[in-house]
């Protein structure tokens, strides 16, 4: 009844957010429009009957990952991006290429699609069924992902931590406003 209008509304919001991500020059604006894209995608998942995926989309993507992005943007004090010669070439070649490719794909999909339609609500997709599948048939991949997450956490901590030399200077109370580049390189070699 309401599914097609809802699909169109949220799809339009989604595409508008994605295009806004491309148009905006400041990374924080891009990040916020990416949140809009992810939230409306969660609504699309709900329309498809995937309740668990919709909840995880909001919690993990729109919540955790985007907070991480916004945090890093603010931490690095990222300003507006400047255009260079390479970006102009990419703009001139990329936009028409992507537009042509997208139109071709959409035309093919719409032309060769039969009356096949996604039956809303026909799929038994409550979290209970998903959990049974996840902890039965996909138990080994599920456990492996926990190791992957652990390694990712350790890698992030190691990569983002400061080099030893600067930490030592900080402890001694010496000024560390602008660490010299060669010192950073030396610290990198020490580690």
């Amino acid at each position: 009844m309401l599914h097609l209008p809802l699909f169109l509304i949220f799809g339009l919001i989604c595409v508008a957010g994605a295009i806004n991500l491309l148009v905006q020059r400041h990374p924080i604006n891009s990040a916020l429009s990416l949140v809009v894209v992810m939230a409306s995608l969660a609504a699309e998942y709900l329309l498809l009957g995937a309740e668990f995926v919709a909840a995880v989309q909001v919690i993990v993507y729109a919540g955790a990952i985007m907070v991480l992005f916004v945090f890093v943007i603010m931490l690095l004090n990222a300003g507006e991006e400047e255009h260079t010669k390479g970006s102009r070439v990419a703009l001139l070649l990329g936009v028409p290429g992507i537009a042509i490719g997208g139109v071709l794909v959409a035309w093919t999909l719409l032309r060769h699609s039969n009356t096949a339609a996604v039956q809303i609500g026909a799929l038994p997709g409550p979290p209970k069924e998903v959990a049974r599948l996840l902890f039965h048939d996909f138990l080994l991949p599920f456990e492996v992902t926990s190791i992957l997450i652990l390694i990712a956490i350790m890698g992030a901590v190691v990569l983002a931590s400061r080099p030893e030399a600067i930490v030592r200077r900080l402890r001694r109370g010496e000024p560390t406003q602008q660490p010299e580049k060669h010192e950073l390189a030396v610290a990198g070699k020490e580690r």
């Binding site: 260079t84 998903v130 390189a185």
Partner: protein
């Protein structure tokens, strides 16, 4: 369930393709390394949508499980990638991908 409540599968695939194309375009034209990274997330989201649409189409829940795994990998990738961006910014003091063309200083 009447016929009106059906949304054709191709509509979902077209939406997913548009999102993926926007991600590729952002990857090409953006010069800020964080925005390039966000474009990758956009591509992953487009693929996730087609996974869920096919799962609903074939009445098979495996697609949703794959989306779950893609999200896990995306979270790990975001953590490590943003840490690398912080490290790059600390040594080079720029976020422009055109100026980050060497692996070591």
């Amino acid at each position: 369930m009447g016929n009106l409540s059906n949304v054709p599968l191709s509509y979902y695939l077209v939406l997913s393709g548009i999102l993926f194309a926007c991600g590729v375009l952002g990857f090409l034209i953006k010069r800020n390394i964080i925005t390039v990274f966000m474009s990758i997330e956009l591509m992953l989201n487009g693929v996730n949508l087609s996974f869920v649409a096919f799962a609903a189409h074939w009445h098979h829940l495996s697609g949703q499980i794959f989306v779950f795994f893609v999200m896990v990998v995306a979270a790990a990738e975001a953590a490590v990638g943003l840490a690398i961006i912080i490290a790059v910014y600390r040594t080079r003091e720029t976020l422009n991908v055109d100026q980050v063309n060497l692996l070591k200083l």
